[in-house]
Amino acid sequence: MLIKKAITALCISAVALFGGDFKEGVNYKTLETPLSVEKGTIVKVWSFTCPFCYKYDKAVTQKVISSIPDVNFEVWHLKTKGKYGQQGSNLMAVARARDIASGIKSPLDKKGFLKKMKFTYYKAYHNKKLRWANGEDSYYKAGFKLLGLDKAGFIKELAASGAQKLLKRWDAAYPVAKIQGIPGFVVNGKYLLMTQKIKDRNYMISLIKYLLVK
């Protein structure tokens, strides 16, 4: 088992070092307008309505990101997807702003509001098949409960600079999502992983490592 792990790690390192067969336009695409993020950042563009985003977050994202040391990971919710896309972004932004304010660095931290919010709405949409036909109040209900807020409190937190900064930052998710859909992973603000070419977790890790040092 240990030998198998060592060989896998060695292969990943070798591919990361030498680039393997990764090609522009095949395995990744360089964005025409780079995202304004620091070097060493991975951005995930997603929506709570996207079944593949849910699948990646259940089985892939955490394991991949934790395998890459010293990486800054951000998740950008896409406000244009689905009937409650904007409301979803509002909730995620308030949740993430709270996490940042309380010193929770990673959006994957299970103690954070963002992770709880994400899975609350993933489960509601995909497992319970809720579509909130009665309007946005019914949509917001679970999110308000999680945040411990009423509507007025939520509006206040949403209007605060922390949430507004995030919402503004996430606006850049749309042009990325238009290229090949979501989930979309962007490395260093420049390189979009071609999701269709991702064969498994190890491939994804080695491609990200390759692009981080490119």
Binding site: P51, C53, R131, A133, K178, G181, Q196, K199
Partner: protein, 225 residues
């Protein structure tokens, strides 16, 4: 009955000449247009509107492909003896079928990834649909072409609180896990059924086209020699 036997005997005796003659008449073109339109209407009226199966992205592309066949069939059927109408009919119908086959194969791959444990190897869900030739069909006819469903899923999801009729409820329960030809066994999903329909159409249209080319062009050239 007599007519069917007569047609069958003619087909057996001289298949190319017979099929070439049939494609000079309206019947086969109208049959293709009607069958395609029927599938679209069933998908839209019964599955989408009546039992709340929201169409996915590839599903609306497949609709578009069937519409190409409807228009192709209808244009040729105006008068299949007029060459230009027939050519437009063939081009539209073949284009629709080939597009439809590609969309169906893609939908099948997405369906398996969405329903299985392995999410890899698929592109994911588009931010917005993109129809051939830059047609903004989702904006012009949103009820028909806006993909309101989730990619890879076609479960019947009625809005909360809505009262369903007995038949609606039965159909919603019948397709609770999505559309399958045999839902209880989850056998033949929507993508596979569409792929089968497109392949059947391709075979029939291909036979019509080949017979026409042989009769009017290849045999003509031979005769002229």
């Amino acid at each position: 009955m007599f007519n069917i036997k007569q047609y069958w005997d003619a087909l057996k005796a001289s298949p190319i000449q017979t099929v070439a003659k049939w494609q000079d008449n309206r019947f086969l073109w109208l049959l293709m247009a009607t069958a395609s339109l029927s599938l679209i209407v069933v998908a839209h009226s019964l599955f989408q509107n009546y039992i709340y199966m929201a169409p996915c992205e590839q599903c609306v592309y497949i609709r578009f492909a069937f519409f190409c066949m409807v228009f192709g069939g209808a244009i040729a059927a105006v008068n299949p003896k007029i060459l230009i109408l027939k050519i437009i009919g063939y081009i539209l119908a073949f284009w629709g079928i080939i597009q439809g086959i590609m969309y169906s194969i893609k939908l099948n791959i997405i369906h398996h990834a969405a329903h299985g444990d392995d999410p890899f190897g698929v592109q994911g869900c588009s931010a917005e649909p993109s129809f051939p030739l830059g047609l903004a069909l989702d904006k012009w006819f949103p009820n028909w072409f806006n993909p309101t469903g989730d990619c890879g899923f076609d479960s019947a999801i009625p809005p909360e609180g809505i009262e369903l009729s007995g038949l609606q409820q039965w159909l919603v329960d019948f397709y609770a896990d999505g559309w399958y030809l045999i839902p209880s066994a989850q056998l033949v999903n929507m993508a596979q059924a569409c792929l089968f329909a497109f392949i059947v159409c391709f075979c029939f249209l291909g036979a019509m086209f080949v017979s026409w080319i042989i009769r009017d062009f290849i045999l003509q050239i031979k005769d002229n020699r």
